[in-house]
Amino acid sequence: MVRRETVRLTDICGSGHYGSAFSIAELLAVLYYQLLHLRPQEPEWMGRDRFTMGKGHAAIGLYPILADLGFFPKSTLDTYTRLGSPLGDHPDMRKVKGVDFSSGSIGHNLSVSAGMALGLKRRQSPARVVCLMGDGEQAEGQVWEAAISAAHYKLDNLVGIVDINKVGSDGQTKEIMDTHPLTDKWRSFGWHVIELEDGHELQQVFNSLNEALNGEQQLPTVVLADTVAGKGVSFMEGTWEWHLGFLGPLDLQQAYAEIAKGLA
């Protein structure tokens, strides 16, 4: 559904972040349908788990899930990016029910999430905070400021996910700015690290995220998820070219067909 709707909404918009939305489809599905504690009919419920997107440009993958869960009418999806729509390329917490924080500036949201986690802990709330980041985002210095502070304040209710889809706007992440080895970095910053080998294999995804959210570790946890940009559409997979793009009618049909086949 995430991929199909991403293709459909991008068709409305005329431009979209296919690659980033497709690489996180399984991560979002497992979080929203299996692990996060939410009340779609009561979106401001203080006891809810929070989800923030450092890589806000993948919000197109989140909106269909929020609509499907009932945070807002599915018909709102049809307004995606049209003049005055609440749904833009990057999410807005004041306009979209179910969005816990606005984003757009890459590198900000782990700091915000650390603040949320700190605030919830001081309220003795059992709620958890999950922040999804990109692998390109790991080049932002502020991510590491946030990592230091989360370990300092022992925020065991904070989970980071790094979607290692290996591409950015300018090409392969490793060639633009190689941020590896991420496991060593996060571990040395005082975080519990979980390496998710296949970010598209649902059982693996569940096991990793479940350990991150429900494990006994007394530390902030990061899940390093190995994913494929553009996963699910053959000509997009693993390419930087489809980080951003648009499909003409013929390719649109092929994308729909391949996505449907992948679901079979």
Binding site: S105, H108, A114, E145, I148, Y153
Partner: protein
């Protein structure tokens, strides 16, 4: 330096001083004390954040009383700003206390996207604004924060000019639901208000009346205006001084009332005259179609030189004599 009753541990020479002695001189930085009072009065949603400047900005006094609600983020200002936004979403009312140049100038993009865009009730107290850091150098001067922050929608921007004004500012806006930035000095300011003044968003206070000219001032220039008033008074010029502490929103009615009474108005600020408080006054005058001329007193549009703060104020004409000189020559 005169630290009188205090001498650093292990020293014998009265001329010796350390950070504790220096901080004892910053009597007007009342932020921590006022916040602690508010907490005692039942404001149990206040949290105080700083970036390794809890002592110099005088909020550690809050931290000593409420350690569970005091967070030092180390020298990582942008992370602190983001965390304050996250705290605000979980029902807390965070107050950031930091040097203004690291808070407002380094953090402006985080302030915009994390605090102002979501319209969160975060309070920011930017200290040592203008040229208060003196010989620490131009990198530590902050003559651009008003210009940067004045364009941020949802943000209220105010300049309490002394310790009692800080108390009035924090107390008078405690229920405001949006973000507020308070631009304050280094704490060694001369006292303008003997007690906390009236305070409201979009307000201003007349400090002294005078019928020959009006000075609209903020921060240290309010006291400079008072000194100028005395100097001009002996020459027969009666100067009215207004503390225009609310920079955004600005007290348009006050400005237009003064404009109607004079053919020339004076603004004064410890900030670059380009894009600052005077520019905000100019916008009001121009948009209303007045013919009143505005003379802006402030920092020239260039990087400031360094030196002891009081020497700098004199050099840039931001003391009583400097202000009086501009007004005297303009009215001639």
């Amino acid at each position: 330096m005169n630290t009188k009753d205090y001498r650093p541990a292990g020293t014998q020479d009265p001329a010796s001083w350390d950070m504790v002695g220096a901080l004892n001189l910053s009597k007007q930085l009342t932020t921590g004390r006022v916040l602690a009072e508010l907490a005692e009065e039942g404001h149990d949603d206040l949290m105080v954040l700083t970036a390794d400047l809890g002592r110099p900005t005088q909020v550690k006094v809050f931290g000593d009383k409420y350690p569970d609600r005091y967070f030092n983020f180390g020298i990582a200002e942008r992370n602190m700003i983001g965390a304050s936004a996250g705290l605000a979403t979980t029902g807390w009312k965070p107050v950031i206390s930091n040097y203004s140049f690291f808070l407002a100038l380094m953090g402006v993009e985080n302030i915009r996207n994390d605090i102002c865009y979501p319209n969160l009730p975060v309070r920011m107290v930017g200290t040592h604004s203008g040229i208060a850091m003196g010989f620490y150098g131009t990198s530590h001067h902050c003559n651009e924060d008003i210009g940067a922050l004045r364009t941020l929608a949802n943000l209220t921007l105010m300049a309490p000019c002394d310790g009692n004004a800080i108390a009035a500012a924090l107390r008078g806006t405690i229920k405001h639901e949006g973000p507020i930035y308070f631009r304050v000095g280094r704490g060694r300011e001369a006292v303008v208000y003997e007690e906390p003044p009236s305070w409201k968003i979009g307000g201003s206070n007349v400090i002294c009346e005078g019928s020959d000219a009006t000075l609209l001032a903020i921060g240290n220039l309010v006291k400079a205006g008072l000194d100028a008033q005395k100097l001009l008074g002996s020459a027969g010029i009666r100067l009215k001084v207004v503390d225009c502490y609310s920079i955004r929103p600005i007290d348009k009615q006050r400005i237009l009332t003064e404009a109607a009474a004079h053919s020339v108005l004076f603004s004064a600020e410890e900030h670059n005259v380009t894009g600052g408080f005077g520019a905000a006054v100019a916008e009001v005058l121009a948009e209303a179609g007045t013919s009143t001329k505005l003379i802006k007193i402030g920092m020239p549009d260039q990087y400031s030189i360094l030196g002891p703060p009081l020497h700098l104020y004199r050099h840039y004409g931001m003391d009583g004599e400097g202000v009086a000189k501009v007004i005297r020559s303009s009215l001639r």
